[in-house]
Subunit: 215 residues, 2 copies
Amino acid sequence: MDSPHPERQGLNMIQAGNTEGISDIIRFVLEIDKLKGVLRKVKPTGEDRYENTAEHSWQIALFALSLEQVVEISVDVNRVIAMLLVHDLGEIDAGDKFVFAQDGWEDRKVVELRAVERICDIAPLKVADWLITLWKEFDGGGTSEARFAKAIDRCMPVLLNLSHQGGSWLENGVTYERVVGRVGPEIENGCPELWTYMKEKLEEGRRKGFFAATS
Amino acid sequence: MDSPHPERQGLNMIQAGNTEGISDIIRFVLEIDKLKGVLRKVKPTGEDRYENTAEHSWQIALFALSLEQVVEISVDVNRVIAMLLVHDLGEIDAGDKFVFAQDGWEDRKVVELRAVERICDIAPLKVADWLITLWKEFDGGGTSEARFAKAIDRCMPVLLNLSHQGGSWLENGVTYERVVGRVGPEIENGCPELWTYMKEKLEEGRRKGFFAATS
């Protein structure tokens, strides 16, 4: 794929405040509009439709912004939010992948990265590079910020399913063990206090029959 | 309305890392889920439905994050983003108000503030106070951050309508003069370069017949 930024190889510079810069930002902003059409597996409160990835991204950004203030964790919350705003952009080309799918995750990463590069490259070079860096940091999970962001991203659909008496777990035959095994380590790794809280809620959900029976 | 925070009058303190704090954050995060059900007047790209305020909030946050890097403006972009994430929360109780409505804006502000207070008060005191402060700053428009945020908020539906050959302007009988008079000063005030760009695009839209005829 040809890069729209041949200058990436040469002068790594962008003139601040030029019309071309604004024009490219706006093409980027209109391209990401498509994330509103990518559907996930859970339904918003009171809605008989599946949520889309754009509204999910908003919710977890505000979740991070507020949670960071009450937990004992040292992260740059602004970086966490920036990551959460971009972390699912690749779904515009790749679609949503159900978190409880059993395989295909390695191929998936390649496709998502290619998508993120295509989309972000619409923006001016400096912006594109930075957004791709954020996406890779989230994906790699090597920083406290990425781990905190991932914990929140994993936690949100669990909260929605719990508040919908099982929601997509029952619809898709997902067991309690599968949920705890899949989301537990990432939530605990990114925000131990949040996992302490969630563990109890998941156990409560199990007692109430919110999960598929273990086969 | 009784405040869930009687301590607001007394010790202004919250224990960091307590389970109660997390529990209140999560009640707040589930309450704001309702913003996904508040419909606006424009349609997302390729979708035959109106966009909701949650996905709109995500898009303008990412718009701000990227635009700030290419314009000559000095703002704390993290504060801008935080404001954009909360600025429409009041619509959960008050609904969306079409930006080109001619009157009712003063009453509307009172209702929205009451709503924002109700919703944010679900969160722990410290978080609630901060989110309400952000909302008021955006609403008051007294800082560069609030003005930049407002410029982006005003700009986004204009961009979507332009990319939909007039969209909600034609559906609702809105003229070119009404659009320029309503959004122009706020966009120019918050980000002059963005207005220079938008002015041209709006003029182009007028030539293409994207607006209702002047009565």
